[in-house]
């Protein structure tokens, strides 16, 4: 949480630290929510055929696999890209 340290100057002035902490937590929550909206949109298209009376177990498995594999792909691409960058000596 180094981010909050940069606002330390504010803590001496009227206790703005409370607000900074509050905003940081809310921002993280909002980012988490935005990510869920995105995953759900994407995985809904992939996994849900015709909406029935409930989500069947096959669809449920597909949805959680979809989220996990999407994150795997994102991590894989990020790591491989970092390796490529390293190999090329930082210039691409």
């Amino acid at each position: 949480m180094n981010f909050s340290d940069s606002f330390d100057s504010g803590s001496s002035k009227g206790g703005d630290k409370d607000l900074q902490d509050f905003l940081m937590v809310e921002k993280q929550k909002a980012q988490f929510n935005a990510q869920i909206h995105e995953f759900n949109e994407f995985c809904w298209d992939k996994c849900v055929e015709k909406p029935g009376n409930k989500l069947d177990s096959k669809t449920e498995t597909c949805l959680s696999n979809c989220v996990d594999r999407f994150i795997d792909v994102s991590l894989l691409i990020t790591n491989r890209f970092a390796q490529l960058l390293q190999k090329s000596g930082g210039g691409i």
Binding site: G10, F22, E41, P51
Partner: protein, 90 residues
């Protein structure tokens, strides 16, 4: 930051500000859900738009809404667990 936020907000003013922020975020979240749900369920349920929504289309929309929220909750839980798992790895 001192320019953006007036210094010396009273405790009550701060609480009010925090409530307002929370409320605005909640409203934005619901709006996002409604927009996506409308788009997705229209796609699933309305094949050929007619002169009105017939009862089977309305039923489909209702079911689709419920399932979309189920899906949202499941995705949310899966994502939460994954973040926890990745944190434990570090």
């Amino acid at each position: 930051m001192e320019d953006a936020l007036p210094t010396g907000l009273s405790g009550a003013q701060k609480d009010e500000l925090m409530d307002q922020v929370k409320q605005q975020i909640a409203v934005a979240n619901v709006q996002e859900l409604l927009t996506k749900m409308t788009e997705k369920c229209f796609k699933k349920c309305i094949n050929k738009p007619g002169t009105s929504l017939d009862s089977s289309e309305q039923k489909c929309i209702a079911m689709c809404m419920d399932r979309y929220m189920d899906s949202w909750n499941l995705v949310s839980e899966t994502y939460r667990l994954r973040i926890q798992k990745e944190r434990n790895k570090m």
